[in-house]
Symmetry: C2
Subunit: 200 residues, 2 copies
Amino acid sequence: MIGSYKGHPEALMKNNRTIFTVLGMLAVKNFSGYEIAKRIKTTINYFWSESEGQIYPALAQCVKEGLAVCKVQPPKDNHRTKKIYSITAKGKRELIAWLKQAAKPELVRNELLLKLFFGANIDKNDNMQHIIRRQREIKLVLADYDQIKKNISVKYKGSKNLKYWLMTLNYGIKSAEAELVWCNQALKMLKRKTYTKKKE
Amino acid sequence: MIGSYKGHPEALMKNNRTIFTVLGMLAVKNFSGYEIAKRIKTTINYFWSESEGQIYPALAQCVKEGLAVCKVQPPKDNHRTKKIYSITAKGKRELIAWLKQAAKPELVRNELLLKLFFGANIDKNDNMQHIIRRQREIKLVLADYDQIKKNISVKYKGSKNLKYWLMTLNYGIKSAEAELVWCNQALKMLKRKTYTKKKE
DNA sequence: TCGCACATGTAACGCGTTACATGATTAC
DNA sequence: GTAATCATGTAACGCGTTACATGTGCGA
């Protein structure tokens, strides 16, 4: 038993989605930990996030299990040494096996909805403010998605990845648009004056 | 310093959303821990979940901080004793203060999208299976939402809560519908044969 | 008889974030 | 000067789930 780690190595790997996220990134090309963190933030951040506190240990774990190898790059351009990771054949096999497995349905958590569910306890206007705030946020992310779409369509034209990247991006766009429609509907609903008797 | 707990009691409460979830439930009527767990599962489960392992400690915390009081109900109908909790004036005040604060944007995690983002590594048909599976799931939840909508519209007719409950439910419906549209679009996208050159 | 609903709780553990430690270079 | 970016890592801690412990009554 090494360190605080208990159980089989496989047991850890089966559920550790950070491992597969970095393997997925390494399947495209070689990266350093820092670059992976950055890439996650600029590509899949709207549906998946990983912090550096997870990425570095995950990379170490990958090397330990033979899923990736690490090559130390000497300082270039007066920068620090970099550790460049590459996926191994075993890593690729494990990634593919994981990709084929059905995704576990996520437990969604939406604090905005939680507050609105209890909305009868506060003023109508306070509830409307929550929705208006969200509306503004969505408009920003939609503008963002639009930019990303244009950028990757040009930059990765001809790449077999593009189709999949646009597909996931479309999910973000469709969801955001649906949320906007809901915001308007919910605001209309709140504006309506309703006279109700007290019940449960 | 008592036990393993550090910092102000308020510090804990500020972020502990389980506390506010149970307070929100208790604002409607008195409940036992078991009943709260059950109610969460049958009402807000599609956007918020709490396990019993969190609800019972949260209730104890509420009592400790004077946000709720507990009355032990002697065994009725040959059942076990129940602990019925009621919200206090302080609890109501804290709940309202929390409800008025802006909701923190959630970090979404969607394993399905993560797998599809890396979809170029596996067969087209495997990717399609993921989407078809999700399609089936959504159809089930939509049917579920429809039932809930009918039920609560009758059961809570005239309640000031109904408006807010229908509003959050509509969010679930709109999102699910948007996801369905995306599924069809994504399947069409995958069916198309595309001949691409290898690039990044 | 077996499993489920009722009913309350605790313990273990994994996931994930935040903050910290360290330090160079670049841009304003 | 001072903030941001590059770059790697560790430690602390909170959130949340799962499993366990314990026990009754009811229906198939």
